[in-house]
Amino acid sequence: MIAKSEMRDEELVGRCAEGDNEAASELVSRYMQKLLQLAQLLAPEQRGNYEDIVQDVFLKAFKNIHLFQGNASFKTWLYAIARVTSQDWRRNFFRRSLHLLSPLTEHENEFISLPDAEPAILNRLATEESTRLLRQALERLPHKLKTALILREWDGLSYDEIAEILAVPSGTVRSRIHNARALLAAALKEDL
C-alpha cells in the first residue's frame, strides 16, 4: 500500500472526497505554507489574517472537493480559490473604498525594457551581496508583478496556470513577468 505522502495530489483529492481525513491532512501539509505565501501576495494589507485566509481557502476547497474535475491541476484549482478568498477578505477590508482593490495598474500595459547586461551587473549577481539586493528589489516591486514572478519562480507554474489563478489573460502574465524581471535588473543596475 502506498503511503499518503507518496500519493499524487489528484489521488489524495479522490480519497478526500470519500471522507478520508488522512488524505485531507496530507493535502493541508503540502499546501499550507505555499498558501500562506500566496495570501501575503494577494492580500498584502491583511497582515495578521493570513492564517485565517488560508483556513478559509482549505475549508472552501474541501467543501467543494467534489467539484474538482481535474481539468487543471489541484494546485492551480486551490490557488484560484485562494485568489477569490483573498479578494473577499480585501473587499470586506476596503468595503468603503473599493477602488483600492486594484491600486497597482501601473506597468500593466506598458513594456519595460530590459537593461543592457553589462558585465558589472552579471558580476554583481555572482556575489553574496546580490541576495540582499535582490530581496530588497523584490520587496519594492508592484505587487501584481511580484505575484506573477513568484508564482513562476518559486512555484514553477506555467504562464497558463498563473493566468488561470489570477484570472487574467496569459499575455498579461507574460508581460507582468517580463516587467518584473526588467525592474529587478534595473534596480540592481542602479545600485552599482
Binding site: A24, Q55, E153
Partner: protein
C-alpha cells in the same frame, strides 16, 4: 525560409524564451538571434542569473505550530455538521435585529406614558394641581423669573 528579428524584439521575448513559454517557431528564431548576438546572449545570462538569485532567496513563511490542527478541526466540524462561527453569526444577526425592532416598537408605544425626563414623580393630586395652574389665565401677571 529563415526569419530574423532585431535585438529590440528579441529582448521583449527573452523572458518568455527562458521560461520555455514561446511557440516552437518563435523559440527557434530567438535562439538563432542569440547565437549570433553577444549583447542578447548577455541579456539572457542576466535573466538566468536573476532566476537563480530568485531561487536562492525563496522564503518559507513561518507557520504556527498548531496551524495544521486548526484547519483540520474546522474541517472535522464541517463534516460533523457543526455550524461555522460565521454561520452562527449569520443566523444570529437577523434574530437580534428582529428583537431590537420589537423592543423599539414596544418602547415607542410606551413613550406617552413615560414619566417626565427630570424631577420627582408627581402624585395624581399634584398632577391635577399642575394642570389647573397651567390652564389659569396669565394676562397681567408677571413672573419674576422672566427678568
Amino acid at each position: 525560409m529563415t526569419y530574423k528579428i532585431d535585438c529590440e524584439r528579441t529582448t521583449a521575448l527573452l523572458s518568455a524564451y527562458m521560461d520555455n513559454e514561446l511557440h516552437r517557431k518563435a523559440k527557434s528564431i530567438v535562439a538563432s538571434h542569440i547565437a549570433s548576438c553577444p549583447a542578447c546572449a548577455r541579456r539572457l545570462k542576466l535573466l538566468t542569473s536573476l532566476s537563480a538569485g530568485m531561487a536562492a532567496i525563496q522564503e518559507q513563511p513561518l507557520v504556527g505550530s498548531n496551524f495544521r490542527d486548526k484547519i483540520l478541526t474546522r474541517l472535522a466540524n464541517y463534516r460533523n455538521g457543526e455550524p461555522e462561527r460565521k454561520e452562527i453569526a449569520t443566523r444570529l444577526v437577523p434574530l437580534l435585529a428582529a428583537m431590537a425592532a420589537c423592543l423599539l416598537f414596544i418602547g415607542a408605544g410606551l413613550l406617552p406614558y413615560a414619566p417626565a425626563a427630570s424631577g420627582p414623580l408627581l402624585s395624581l393630586d399634584d398632577c391635577e394641581q399642575q394642570i389647573l395652574q397651567d390652564s389659569a389665565p396669565t394676562h397681567g401677571s408677571f413672573s419674576a423669573q422672566a427678568f
